[in-house]
């Protein structure tokens, strides 16, 4: 299953990003084998309506779960309609830490 963690950089060591639509990177991890891909968010500096567009990036990449600090109302509606589970991570750690907590099932589903 593919899990997306919003990130400030392109590696597992990068700090996790609190915002969803304006996150600089989406780190998409394959939970079966731990392999990952860093997707640069083309809407990070967009003018408006970035939430739904960023959600479309996740849908196009077949993501099934999202780990982020905060997801806006419009994006949440799109993600919910697409059946993508949302988990809140606000500990301020790295992508790796967010992923570990997701794997240990300690994050709250929002």
């Amino acid at each position: 299953m593919k899990v997306c963690i919003t990130a400030q950089g392109a590696t597992l060591e990068s700090p996790a990003e609190d915002r969803f639509g304006r996150a600089p990177y989406f780190i998409v991890v394959e939970s079966e084998n731990g392999s990952f891909e860093a997707i640069r968010n083309p809407y990070a500096d967009g003018g408006g309506g970035v939430g739904p567009k960023a959600a479309q990036v996740l849908i196009a990449n077949n993501v099934k779960a999202l780990v982020s600090g905060q997801v806006g109302g419009n994006a949440k509606e799109v993600l919910a309609a697409a059946g993508i589970a949302m988990y809140a991570y606000k500990a301020g750690g790295s992508v790796k830490d967010a992923l570990d907590q997701f794997t240990k099932n300690t994050l709250t589903r929002s």
Partner: protein
């Protein structure tokens, strides 16, 4: 002639200047005052009168789900993220839609048509002889001021003398107000904040090709930085209004300076004549 009054910084006295020019001109010729600050219109406070109100609507897309095959072309076309196409349904976010009609144009199945959605209203009144007041009012929760500003300006089309009172700032509502005006007054105050935002407003007016002149309001007599800026940028200081407790008191009770103190009428008429010169109109 169409004259705009803008400022950059809020609270510098745009509406005060607009109300006083309009009041003075209305004594001698027909004038239309347009409140383009549709998020917080206030000119009606200076000119209370019964109003005629009409709705403003914008077209928004409605998808016929039976005809839609979820190809995603509309989602690609939408620059504002207002449409999301999932495998078996479409999500539409009306508050993100800019009513561009692009989705309807690209739909291969012609499954999209437009329906009107109310975003605000226009009020028209005749508060004193010679004066027509047109106010725009954005509905609470509607995010786009521009369609209302377009509508109030259209309502004034063909009127000989139109004064448009702008919202503060330099974003879309101000651009929409200034667009097509023959000249604009930028009202400022001699504070660092006032000068900072004046700089931005001057830039916007220049880019739109609207000749601009400056009014310094609430002057304490120490306007050197503002004056220096105006000299450096070849901007005429059209008028300086002093920081004065009596003027503030007149304003605060909703009165008009030129009505309470008629000697100000010649000052505001002179301001208008200078604006006409800026606009290249002989008075």
């Amino acid at each position: 002639m169409k004259l705009a009054i803008a400022s950059g910084k809020g609270g510098t006295g745009k509406s005060m200047v607009a109300a006083n020019i309009a009041f003075t001109l209305a004594l001698t010729e027909p004038v239309t005052l347009v409140d383009c600050d549709v998020e917080e219109p206030n000119l009606h406070l200076f000119f209370p009168a019964p109003v005629t109100t009409t709705e403003v609507t914008v077209p928004i897309p409605v998808v016929d789900e039976a005809a839609c095959d979820h190809c995603g072309k509309c989602e690609e076309a939408c620059q504002y993220g207002a449409l999301t196409v999932l495998q078996s349904r479409i999500l539409f976010f009306p508050e993100l839609c800019h009513s561009c009609g692009g989705c309807m144009l690209v739909c291969p199945k012609r499954a999209i048509h437009e329906e009107p959605k109310r975003v605000g209203a226009i009020s028209v009144s005749a508060p004193i002889p010679g004066l027509k007041l047109i106010s725009g009012m954005l509905d609470t929760g509607s995010p786009h001021a521009v369609p209302i500003i377009k509508a109030v300006k259209e309502r004034a089309d063909g009127d000989p003398l139109v004064i448009c009172d702008s919202a503060p700032g330099t974003s879309c509502p101000v651009v929409e107000t200034l667009d097509g005006c023959d000249a604009c007054i930028l009202v400022t105050e001699s504070t660092p904040f006032g000068l900072h935002d004046l700089r931005l407003a001057v830039d916007v007016a220049a880019r739109l090709g609207v000749p601009a002149g400056i009014v310094i309001n609430r002057s304490d007599g120490r306007d050197e930085d503002t004056i220096r800026f105006c000299i450096d940028h070849d901007l005429e200081i059209l008028m300086t209004i002093p920081f004065d407790r009596e003027i503030a008191a007149i304003q605060s009770r909703g009165d008009i300076l030129c009505r309470a103190r008629p000697e100000w009428q010649k000052e505001f008429y002179a301001l208008f004549v200078k604006c006409s010169t800026l606009a290249g109109v002989e008075r």
